[in-house]
Symmetry: C2
Subunit: 232 residues, 2 copies
């Protein structure tokens, strides 16, 4: 006999996702009490993240249940997803019935493209956060932003801070703190270079230049999707 | 024509590995310049981590090249690996030719069981760090410990701090800082509960109690392996 868990968490994956965006939070939330966490994509064929990691989805969109928490990651592969009708349709079907609609990294741009962040406070990876404005999002450049049942995290590694915030929201602080201790989440970066606020300005420019092509492609798509929504 | 990368990084995986131990560092090091990172196991059949995540190895032990950096994770599945002749054999064959022999979480116990940490400074997950003493390791309860070409990280999430330390060692600080910025590694845990040093003492006892069975099994095996090595 299978007992349904209290909380069903659905995490979107797609080709060229930044794997850590989603696997960091997966590892925290999969340890939570009375939860089932599933990776969801169009079908169950393995896809590859942007570093080549093979990720095997647990569910296809077609047989996904209504999730209580919907989690959307980012990465280079997020850009084409903004114009993918199947993906946008899945997010729009799930969002109204989900207790929490959430994202990490540029996943917030995908939520925004689906029309799910208009008028809300949200964050994003520092390189792409300005694009949220195209969708009428109130930009809050913090690590984790909570606005009602929308919870968004900043770039990639913010997924851990995000996950403990979500865990506290669905299970309480006591359980979040216990899992933080079990996972020894007591970060001590060897360098202080994780945000333009603390990094050397010339390094920030260098990274921005490295990412330029990806950012231009994303901006082009963001503009087109935002424009179509206005016509819409 | 395939060009061999300058640095080949081999990351051990095994059933019931703590996935984030290895996938956190994977995500950092797979972005490094002129590196190839591979997940290695006995064969290439997918295995499952301790939260149910499917992980697909890139290589079997039999066709693995000599790695320049060897990375060993921990988790519940690490305990039986300490007595697995194939795994111990692989580590012992690789270690002498590797520029760096490294671990995250209880992976240091596996390195110790293979005789690769005797007389060295090393760290481990706080729940299991005392077991390192059985193998003649000098315990240093820090987040990341460097002793010559041995680099060890503490529990699970220390893998990120570990990975940027390794990256700086193989590619220099400039590249480590650039990737830290790209991955927005500027942690801001919502709670201060990631280590017994900062967590509530009663919470620490609760987590220790939750992990008791796993710790007892691990201690039993650590004692047996250490004893056998002395007879040896």
């Amino acid at each position: 006999m299978t007992t349904e868990p209290k909380t069903r968490i659905g995490m979107l994956v797609f080709p060229m996702v930044t794997s850590l965006d989603i696997l960091g939070p997966f590892e925290v939330l999969a340890r939570a009490s009375d939860c089932r966490v599933e990776l969801v994509w169009k079908d169950r064929q393995p896809i590859k993240g942007d570093t080549g990691l093979a990720i095997t989805p647990d569910r296809g969109f077609g047989d996904a249940p209504q999730y209580d928490v919907l989690v959307v990651p980012g990465g280079p592969g997020q850009t084409p997803m903004m114009e993918d009708a199947e993906v946008i349709g899945f997010l729009r079907r799930q969002a109204p019935g989900a207790g929490f609609v959430t994202s990490i990294c540029t996943g917030s741009l995908l939520l925004a493209a689906a029309g799910l962040l208009a008028g809300r406070k949200a964050t994003c990876h520092w390189l792409s956060i300005d694009q949220l404005a195209l969708f009428g999002v109130e930009i809050v450049p913090e690590r984790v932003v909570v606005d009602g049942n929308r919870i968004t995290g900043a770039g990639v590694t913010s997924g851990l801070d995000f996950a403990f915030t979500v865990l506290a929201a669905i299970r309480g602080e006591e359980e979040a703190k216990a899992l933080q201790l079990l996972m020894e989440y007591d970060p001590a970066p060897p360098f202080q270079s994780g945000h333009p606020r603390v990094a050397a300005p010339e390094l920030t420019e260098k990274v921005r230049l490295m990412a330029r092509n990806m950012l231009e492609r994303r901006l082009e798509v963001s503009r087109r999707v935002a424009e179509a929504a206005k016509q819409g």
